[in-house]
């Protein structure tokens, strides 16, 4: 099963409003990452929060992490139409080979209406 799962699956808001997306995960982590994907494009890394951090900011992005609840949230403030995209959280897991890989959730599709 997915290590990270986002909710809601879809979110539609008006320009200028804030958008909040949540992510839950199952096992302990070193860090949690958020990515953005425009339709038909690759993923772009937005922000990484380490397990010993509770909150992190980058421009209009604010990420929180609650390791006791195994959850994270991504807040986009003062949203713009250009923020329309899918947003994924990702956590690192160990594979059978001992290597590590990112596991992505199913994403939240954000639609910002102009």
């Amino acid at each position: 099963s997915q290590q990270g799962e986002e909710d809601p699956q879809a979110l539609s808001i008006q320009e200028g409003e804030n958008a909040t997306m949540n992510c839950s995960y199952k096992t302990s982590i070193n860090n949690l990452q958020w990515y953005r994907q425009n339709s038909g494009r690759g993923l772009v890394h937005l922000i990484l929060i380490r397990s010993n951090e509770r909150e992190k900011h980058s421009g209009r992005l604010r990420v929180t992490l609650d390791t006791s609840k195994k959850s994270s949230s991504l807040l986009i403030t003062a949203s713009r139409a250009a923020d329309t995209a899918s947003y994924f959280c990702a956590t690192v897991r160990s594979m059978d080979t001992g290597r590590r890989a990112l596991t992505f959730g199913s994403g939240t599709r954000l639609q910002v209406q102009p």
Partner: protein, 114 residues
């Protein structure tokens, strides 16, 4: 910074035909390389990853194979495509070392099997 090139951007192939998708990386040496498949509206499924030339690990049994003939070249192949191979294929790279390194993605190949 790393740049990932994927081609072709779109591909339509008949069932039973062979496949070769290519991914090349610029801006880094000895990267970790990844092939993902993304179904419509879903998250990413890791197919293959490579930590060096000729070193390929597979995450799931499937009809596809991968090869890494050069340090910055990663190829996804199939001898006979199935309908279930349709999807959006993404190549990603990661600079090794440290748990906080993000993955960088190409713009993907949309593969439709008829």
């Amino acid at each position: 910074s790393q740049t990932i090139h994927q081609w072709p951007a779109t591909l339509v192939q008949p069932v039973g035909s062979p496949l070769s998708l290519e991914c090349t990386v610029e801006g880094t040496s000895n990267p970790n390389l990844y092939w993902y498949r993304q179904a419509a509206g879903r998250g990413l499924q890791l197919l293959f990853y490579s930590v060096g030339i000729g070193q390929i690990s597979s995450e799931v049994p499937q009809n596809l194979s991968a090869s890494r003939p050069q340090d910055r070249q990663f190829i996804l192949s199939s001898k006979k495509l199935l309908l279930s191979d349709s999807g959006f294929y993404l190549c990603a790279c990661r600079v090794p070392g440290g748990v906080g390194q993000p993955q960088h993605f190409g713009d993907g190949t949309r593969l439709s099997i008829l």
